[in-house]
Symmetry: D2
Subunit: 350 residues, 4 copies
């Protein structure tokens, strides 16, 4: 019963097959291979628009490189105070953007807006920075997590409003899509509608959490925005020599809607878990379950008992009443019986 | 007939099997998995000493992170003027070491010392920097490529002399071992003898060129030297979420001497090619062939004819007489018949 | 009537005399001169302890270099969300510390704690960072402004409590003392009592605002903490060639208590202004006046009228009721009649 | 007899007067003062063209900031291997340009080309970098020292040829003019002819060595090239709060040709010394004396004797024959009798 991370499980069988398939013959290194060359077409089709797509190994690299291409050293990025780029990347964006600043905005931790920022708050934060004033960093980008770190999903309208708030002030909108498939599966929207049609400029297209081995991509909806991305990627040590294997993963991941099926399964398991846990008296679910993460508030002794029975999960937060807010992540490969057993254990029935 | 790069071919079958084998069940992410935990033991056994070993995806990341842990921003690294870290990493070491300086020394391009530096030259270069003088960068590390970019291999004695020159002046010795297996196969020495016993402090242990998919490791022979490596790796975006798959590659690569067998095969093919080409009148081999690279000086029209017949290789240099110095790389998977055919073509017999 | 900044006025006559006096003969450049060599003794006497003192030209340089010597790239500095290092240095600390992070804590904007942080809040912020967790920046320093950006002064007890909170968690305590003389004049304490005896590790010793031309110093109370400061200063372009002139300013500034007399005068003028404005019905003073800055809330039309009459000052903040919070800064050279006239104008009597 | 550095002497009396004169009344801080505002006009007149001029405190800051505005992190700057930016700034350019690379070219150390680079060598060095190849840094700027570190002066024709070599390849031409006045005094050309008319894009306009206290300026002949200079200057901690005093120095320095008179005097003293030393049998002058530096090769015992008699100077180099190459710098304030006495001592007549 491993609900610790959607990185806990391995890779989709189709991805493993694609790697084996890619392991034939000699090709050009460093992205000169046919698989990498084909990615532009695949992703352009996927997004309904000519995009620039650049594979990297990790989500942190994708985010940091993406932001660095649009944020100079004296720039600032507006983001959520609890976002991954702010709290979980050891300052990678600041390193890649040579000392630029992330400005983190607080927001609700419970309810429908949990984990989200509003267009109004973002607009106000941008306006609070004195423009053209050399003593202050200058805002260049807004970065949102879609879904958020609390598993909630910005609606197309919310995205669009935020994009407008950003663009009206001359900023670019970046999405950290580490679990983008889960968001899209929830939204039931097209990849186009959920990105550039809503005003997104750059997407960190996550795939590792969704079932690849170590493959992410930075997608620029206006290829001109990519600027010197390729030099930054190389200078950061993120240019794969045998890139065909990274590209093969991405290709397999998006082929025939695999990514959305896998994400849909994970989302479904989370909903199943949420439904079960919602019937347990001592448990409350303060955050709406929209993707593959369930946040469950429970007494500490219940959390201990569940762990004692073999469940693995993180305490997102210690609560002031002595309880914990547990984060339970499901994935494309989480066994359905693990979810059922966890719910039964929580209900005292196993 | 692809002799362009040892990155042209895919991965060893044993590595692919190991990936499939690793793709089972749920494990801790970010290196908390058993495979990664086991690497320390495997590499300590391999090197006959308790080492710290840190997997990364690329050789550039390995080199840049390794050098940054021992070189502060006001530091300098002594290296060959034509080395990979100097010419082929787009300034990654300077980025990771926050503006430190690489000082490149010229050396012979032909003959037994081709691609190499001597202890005397290194000592003189270090001594030329005014120590404790705040206007000048201060030397902190020497970095050698083993084998060199010209495929030559430092003998254990050469290594040892350079290590002494470095250590006597307070510097650390780093090896860029992108093709370390090829060097070791040539030296017929133990991994211990070719590294820490000769005075090497840090090794960028290459594996991608040798037959893995995208796996390298930084090995510190004194684990205390690693310092804040893990934070630097994360801040650089090089911490793999599903690190088990990187570790599985490394484990399979070194298990039962696979790495040395694969490198031995590649070296053998290069020797075969060298023997064949040495019998062609219009071709000269100005650099001794010790690993998996053959440098062949030939008339431009011969190079063109070989390419016309389907051979792929780089022109390392245009010669002043209108000829080219071709670099021909073999790998663990290069077909032996490709070598034979290339030689025959060069000899005008095919 | 210039109350815009304590940088508005020039330099103290004693400082100008010292510059003229220093302009004699030939001396060693880059700090090898007798004046610079003597600073260590002067500042050690001033602080009652053997200190390391390093002159620079600007306060931003002093802060950024001071923090960089004790904060690695993966480190974090805890500071006030409205502090100068956070809001008014264009990200210089992040640049000098190679992408380290400032973590800004909010605090009251009015009343006795205006502009200050508490030991409890600082301790909680440090404890909120997961120590030894590679995904998170790690806390290395606490930085306070003394006096704060709102002109309030930490008491010796407050300082001491914060130092204990920092030290107990392994962090260093840095003071941004851009107006340190004003704080000390208020505290009526010795320089020793207000710094290292209260637990301060590093002081950005400000002098420009206090009456020098462009001279600040970084003071390390444990000289070993300075580490590679001198290389960082040179690499940042802050090593003065004719350093005698920077040192001469600092020497003159602290000689015979000049700095405290000058600050005492500025503080006294601010108190005078505060007393006068407190008698104006439409004005409130939400922040206690302890140094040389008066924050006065007034109707927008009054602010406009004052400006119309020749007063210069900043609007620190627009108030929601349409009024403004004006910041009025006095200095060592502000004419007393300007203060009197400003008060009279505000009271409608001029 | 101090010939150690042109930083050894203080400031010109006119500069000191200007500082005293600037020390009146209250003005806007951070460059909003009339003196700074007037610099643009003064320097535009001086150079016969509308320029952007930005004061800083040090030459290292000027060079590093100037190069960073035109060189991205993946960029390279072509310069002399023995240049100040390469050897005497502790890697400041690499720090400010975020890990960009300086590529140093060797050149003759004696004779008419001593210290200089040729257009041909620069062109070849640029062409040696594979353009658009992501593994290699890309060339963005050429930086020359005028005069060179050996005191020689590029002729207008040499400058022009180098500018053409740079521009034809898309690079900008930067001059490190730490001693620009000395070069101009030698050239007997207008400031316009010696800079933009010869193709120079950016000038680090030195003044400290020439007789100011600590004032340099970055001059962009196309103001659009300055880009985000002002943010970089602030982020680097080089924005002076009381900038009027920096600007006052610069204004006084260039007013009525003072800078050229002062430099002319220094150059004249160097020539006088050179003439005297050239008549001493044991001394040779391997570098033509064109500005304020004399390089004199002499036996070690003569150097020791001169030092014993009170002369101060640097050994630029130890010679292999046991002699030294002494660098003797004169300045605007070097007493003429010191030169005479030094020559007499060297000749054994004092």
């Amino acid at each position: 019963m491993d609900f610790g991370s959607d990185n806990a499980y391995g890779v989709l069988p189709q991805v493993m097959d694609a790697l084996a398939h890619a392991n034939r013959g000699a090709v050009r290194a460093y992205g000169g291979d046919p698989l990498t060359q084909g990615l532009t077409q695949s992703f352009s089709t996927l997004f309904g628009r000519a995009v620039a797509v650049h594979p990297v190994f990790t989500g942190t690299a994708a985010n940091a490189l993406a932001l660095a291409t649009v944020t100079p050293p004296h720039g600032a990025v507006i983001c959520h105070a609890r976002s991954h780029i702010m709290e979980s990347e050891c300052g990678a964006p600041e390193f890649y953007a040579h000392g630029a600043k992330l400005i983190g905005l607080e927001g609700p931790e419970e309810g429908p807006l949990a984990g989200k920022l509003t267009a109004a708050a973002i607009g106000a934060a941008i306006d609070a920075l004195p423009r053209g004033f050399v003593h202050s960093v200058q805002p260049f980008a807004v970065s949102l997590s879609q879904p958020t770190e609390l598993g909630t999903v910005y609606s197309l309208q919310e995205l669009s409003q935020i994009a407008q708030a950003a663009h009206a002030r001359g900023l670019k909108l970046h999405l950290d899509g580490a679990r983008f498939a889960n968001a899209l599966a929830h939204l039931q929207a097209s990849a186009a509608a959920a990105t550039w049609q809503a005003g997104v400029d750059i997407l960190s297209f996550g795939a590792s959490k969704g079932g690849t081995m170590g493959a992410e991509a930075v997608v620029y909806f206006d290829p001109a925005l990519a600027g010197d991305f390729e030099y930054r990627r190389k200078k950061g040590g993120h240019l794969a020599s045998k890139m065909r294997f990274v590209s093969a993963q991405l290709e397999a991941y998006v082929e025939d809607g695999l990514w959305l099926q896998a994400a849909g399964r994970a989302n479904g398991l989370a909903l199943l878990m949420a439904e079960g846990l919602s019937r347990v008296n001592s448990i409350t679910l303060p955050v709406p379950v929209q993707t593959n993460m369930v946040f469950a508030r429970m007494p500490a002794d219940l959390a201990a008992r569940l762990r004692g029975a073999g469940a693995y999960f993180y305490d997102w937060r210690k609560e002031t009443d002595g309880g914990v807010l547990a984060r339970l992540a499901t994935s494309f490969a989480t066994p359905e019986e693990d979810v059922a057993r966890f719910v039964a254990l929580a209900a005292g029935k196993a």
